[in-house]
Structure formats: C-alpha cells, structure tokens
Symmetry: C2
Subunit: 131 residues, 2 copies
DNA sequence: AGATTGTATTCCTTGGGGAGAATATGTAGG
DNA sequence: CCTACATATTCTCCCCAAGGAATACAATCT
C-alpha cells in the first residue's frame, strides 16, 4: 500500500473547492465564522435550513477539512478548520499574478497619462486595494 | 431604494465560487493560467474535453467574470479575468484569521514545548467520517 | 426505567447540470 | 460561391446531489 497521504493532500483543495461550490455550505461557513463555535441546532436556527440538511452539509464540509467537531455531551460543536480553508485559498492565490498584472498595467497607464506629480507610493500593495 | 450595483458585486463572488466548484472548469482555468491566452481548440486539445463542453464551460466562466474573450477572425482567444478570480479569492481571504489563529497557537506550543522533535500534525481530527 | 432533547442516517423523490451528438453560425480561403 | 475550419447552441439523456420525511442513535434528566 502506497502512502495515501500525498494523494489526500493533493486532492484536499479540490474537495474543498467542490464543497464550497454550494451556496448553503458557504452560508454555514459564514455562520461559523461569526460565532467561534456552533452546535447543529444553532446552525439550523441561524440558516433556516432543516436539521438533516445541516448535518449532511456539515459532513461534506468535514470531509473537506473545512470544519471540525468537538463532542460535548449530546451536543456537537462545529468550528472552522484551517486546513481546507487554506488549501482553497491557496489555490486562488496561485492566480494572484493575474490581477497584479492588471494593476501593473493600470499603473503604467497612469504614469504615462499623468504629469510627474507627487507620487508618494509608486509601489503599492495591489492585493489589499479593492473598490 | 438600495443600489443594485452593490447586489451585483455581492453576487459576483457567489457566481464565481459556484463556477469554480466544478473540476473541469478548474482545469480550464489552470490551463489558461499556463498560457497567456488560448483558443477553444487549444483548450479542447489540452483538456481532453470535447469542444461543446469546453464552450459551455467557458460560457459559465465568462458569466462569472473568470475569463474574458478577444475575437480574432474565426478564433476566439480566452484569457483569465481578474475580477472574478479576485472576488473568489477575497471571499476566502476573509477567513484568514482562522488559520492565522492556528499559526499563533502553533507558535505558542513550539515556544513552550521547545524540543525539536518532528511533530507532524498537532491538529488532529477526532471524528471519523468516511463514506 | 421512560421521556426528552440533540444529532446522524436512511430512504425516497426531484431538479439541475454535465456529457454526448447533431446542428447552427460565422469566417477565412480557394 | 463553395468549402473547410472554428466556435456556439440546441436537444436529449442521465447521473448525482440537494431536499424532505421518517427514523435511528446517543445522551441527559426525572
């Protein structure tokens, strides 16, 4: 038996992105982000979904390492799990050069089209400037 | 009355995340990332998908502002589009505090428990959900 | 013990969307 | 013009997955 760990690691972002490609699961993730931890009934209450659907979505999210569980009596406290979130985020981050190239082009255009005015920061951080 | 522009902006990341939640569309995005631009037939050739599927996936990606088109004779050159990619990336970036908190905890743990033994995963998942 | 609450699971139905084949549209070239 | 090529669209089929209802399982309380 060869190590399945590497395969799992490679597939992790794929599983995570598949899981996030569903509006109600994104809703659950956003709800979990607001409160530090939530039980299933709290998520049912906050989402408007029915309990079985919430449990099923949580199962998918758990398989994608997007949430983790802590058992406490008959309650189960779910929280966000870093591994899956980071894997999905990293997948998108690999495309950062695309919008950085766009900002570079914008900078060049501004530099050509405007007189040499006082430009305080010619090398700004493009990934945090939106809107 | 609220501005409909804001609603469009809000929906953009949702549309983008929905679109990316499909393996073959992610494949197309990755192929487009390698080459600066690609025609449909190039994508058909590189992906192994058939031409109608590629065109249909490109249509979805285009609606999500993940790709853009440049017409050139009877060819259509597709390239990555920053808006959708960045919107989806930003959605995940809003969860950054989750894994940064984990790194902080890891730092604290290393600082206290300083022996340099290789500790593979201090973050274990106690539940067993497999099929 | 039974009752009650919290959660997971099973079964069933249904709808959406992805794949395939055929066709339409559009464009260059002889 | 007619043909060949590049791409888009339509139609159909089918699978999978989300939703609903009922039930099973687990744990606390009296």
């Amino acid at each position: 038996m060869q190590s399945p760990v590497a395969l799992d690691a490679v597939a992790l972002d794929a599983v995570a992105l598949d899981a996030v490609g569903e509006p109600n699961r994104r809703l659950i993730l956003e709800l979990l982000h607001r409160h530090h931890e939530s039980t299933v009934t709290e998520l049912v209450d906050a989402s408007g979904l029915r309990q079985p659907q919430v449990s099923k979505h949580l199962k998918v999210l758990s398989a994608a390492s997007l949430v983790s569980v802590r058992a406490d009596g008959r309650h189960r406290h779910y929280r966000l799990e870093a591994r899956g979130l980071q894997a999905a985020h990293d997948w998108f981050a690999s495309f950062e050069d695309v919008w950085q190239a766009r900002f570079d082009a914008l900078d060049a255009l501004v530099a050509v089209d405007s007189p040499p005015s006082t430009n305080p920061e010619p090398d700004n951080n493009p990934q945090e400037s939106h809107q």
